[in-house]
């Protein structure tokens, strides 16, 4: 199914960010061979440990809306990086790039968020692979 706003790209990962210490292994939960890039509207932000999650409604060509969940860095790590819980709000239209969950669900790691004004926020955890 071709989608207008959601583009899933399968292929080999170009980035080779080292896997560092996490409370989980990136490779156990996400598939670095399944990059995902979506554009949608933020429906919820969970600013919680061990990783923040944010959810995005993504509409396809037929108008069907799918809600995607994205995992990012721990709140403390992001805060030290200068990214506060106010960086992303419900209703924001964002582009998210990351890697799909291995279990096939509509979840992914969300390493990079871009806002309509072009601002780009690196939301990946220290240990997660991030899209280049």
């Amino acid at each position: 199914m071709r989608t207008r706003l959601m583009a899933l790209t399968l292929g080999l990962l170009a980035g080779t960010s080292p896997l560092l210490l996490a409370h989980h292994s990136f490779s156990a939960e996400y598939d670095a061979n399944q990059p995902v890039k979506v554009t949608g509207v933020v429906t919820k932000v969970e600013w919680q440990n061990p990783h923040i999650w944010f959810f995005v409604d993504v509409k396809d060509d037929q108008g069907k809306v799918t809600n995607w969940g994205f995992s990012a860095g721990p709140p403390g790590v992001l805060q030290r990086r200068g990214i506060s819980r106010n960086a992303m709000k419900t209703g924001d239209v964002i582009v998210v790039e990351g890697f799909r969950a291995r279990d096939g669900s509509n979840n992914a790691s969300g390493g990079k968020v871009t806002f309509p004004d072009g601002r780009s926020v690196f939301t990946a955890s220290n240990e997660d692979k991030a899209p280049k």
Partner: protein, 257 residues
Amino acid sequence: MLNVQKFAAGLAPLLVIALAATLNAQSKPGARIPRLADGKPDFTGMWDNPKEPGARGAATVFDKAKMAPFVPGGEALFYEPRTGDPRHDEPRAFCMPSGFPSAFLGPYPVQLIQTPQHLVMSTEFMNVTRIIPLDGRPHKTDIEPTFYGEPIGRWEGDTLVIEARNYKRWSLDDWYYQNPKEYRMHSDAFHTIERLRRIDANTIAYEFTVDDPKIFTRPWSVQWEMKRHPEWDTTGLYEMVCNENNRCEGGKCREGK
């Protein structure tokens, strides 16, 4: 006799140079380091995790080239195959502990708080805290082994030596995050020796020695550094509670908006 005097006179500058080199190896000349009222170096502050001097990334795995040879049977104890069971292969994905030293080696700040009696060493990663008595007391002989062991400190001049024992068998480092086939484990005979020296206002020389006689023929060491980050003082460590919202525990994501 004259020759001896000449020889001694010629030797003196060399001795001065050698002495200066020795002192330099212990602490930088003229380096001002904070001290407690009892005169001991004060390690209190916010620090980056221990890592190779100049390294960009965290020291999450030990360099195999620096390890001692295996004792007979040691290699089988050291490398443990992964089984496919996430509870065995990814215990931290279920919020199980990383253990020591692994928990302190990631890219997260470490806060040190020192009193004459204790050094408190706390990392933001999972908010793991070691409370280390500094009186050199003997290790206990009748306690259950733990993930973080029983650390006890003592002073050797300006060097704080922390020896820890009573570890349970657990992963040594993050090797199992890099190699899909195996863990690297320490045994229940694991014994660690940390030597901390504050060599200038912003640097701790941190030598880490692994002594595991069930696995290695002799102790082996790595030389790390910790760098001071005063800009983290105002915020301190942030809370990190693993069970709060562990949505993709063990690789199965929980649905829900």
